[in-house]
Amino acid sequence: MNEEILRMEHITKRFPLGGGRTLTAVDDITFSVRRGETLGIVGESGSGKSTLARILTRLEVPTAGRILFRGEDVTALSGEALRQHRRSVQMVFQDPSTALDPKLRVRDILCEPLLNFGLIRSRDVPDKARELLRLVDLPEDFAGRYPHHMSGGQRQRVAIARALALEPELIILDEATSALDVSVQAHIIALLRTLQQEKHLAYLFICHDLYLADQFCDRILVMKQGREVETIRGLREAKSPYAQKLIASVFSVEEGKNKILPPELFQ
């Protein structure tokens, strides 16, 4: 049951910057994820988290390295095989308003992938859309709305529902709860946990909220400038000064205005 579902081996991604310069966004990253497991990725802005996620869904091709999914090399898939891969690996994008097609109503955003893979018939669309909306705590009558007629957090929940609809084996959640209030966020996290237990889903959870990652993830990969700093089972295990600095930067309700920020942030 706990077999490895994903293995990223020595993944590197460089982008040309013009003038012969290149930027190494991801630098020799290796990790694996088992079925039913949640791997968190945290790290500073620009450290390569989203690039790694885009490589995994094959929206970007790595400059070097290998991606193994269910033991199969998917680094160079194309055509129908790639289409099937994208069904098994769903992604919730960091930027929900650019990820949802503005011309489609919510019911079509949610159900089009299901129709394309022949998993439902057209006449099932209204019921399926309502079911998915209920799942993420949105009113059923949102089925007829366009994404730009919704709030940021409502759009984010549509994106989550769409990713869940295809019943993938691995879901990448890239800052997928950042636009939600903490109470709705708790509901979504509970939902993800339940689905994980029922269906042995694996998650890759990219998140700036260290304590949320700590609660939700089995292991956390800490990244800095494209590289792995350390992989820990919980924040309490963090050894690197970099992870310590991250932890010391968190604002908490308890500390309120008495929070003392690490002086090295302002040098």
Partner: protein
Amino acid sequence: MLLEVKQLGIAYGRRPPVVRDVSFTLDAGEVLAIVGESGSGKTTIIRSIMHILPGGGHIAEGTVFFQGEDTRAQSPARHRELCGPDVAMIFQDCGAMMNPIRSIGRQFRDYLSIHGVKNPAEAHALMTSMLAMVRLPDPERILKSYPFELSGGMRQRVGIAFAMALRPKLLLADEPTSALDVTTQAQIVKEMMDAARSVNTAILIVTHNLGVAAYMADRILVMKDGRPVEYGPAEDVIYRPQTDYTRRLLAAVPGPGGLS
């Protein structure tokens, strides 16, 4: 009084109002945080202050006074004039607000030029200093980049640099740090507080991060279902909440040793 909002009600098109009965005030140098339920109308409220509601959104009832002027009586030209030097906004979704086919530098230059910074050397110096202020490494690379070449947090910081460049009297910040890692968030929060203290910028911040709200805000407004449920000094709302909803929200904040 810099900003005075009274009995505000806002509707989109002919739908029933999504915001009702919202009142608050803001003085120079003060910080007000709006927190609460996703979909409760926070973005709608702060957009209505700049009169930039999308999709047939309009103020259906109540008043918004800015610097003593009734903004509902002002012309669209007057609104545009005020946007930038007097009131500036950091959007919840900075990426979507940018032109995807223009470089950051070009968009930044145009923005400054519209508001009177026309000298190229002066504009360049201001742009690079603002990008450094929001801790973006290699400002020259950022200016040459297109939005898609930047990470989510980098785009958000570009939006913050735009909004703060003209030292507005009122900064409307919609989830300004939600796409930022915690160290960058701390740096940006400090820069915003410095602006409030040194040049008396008033800040209206919408955030889901109650730790940030507790640190920054003088007063907090809690929203649910389009209505205010609690409004008062930050210490009261955070440490002595009066409503079940606020208590529930505070209990759901992930923290060290937290459950769930």
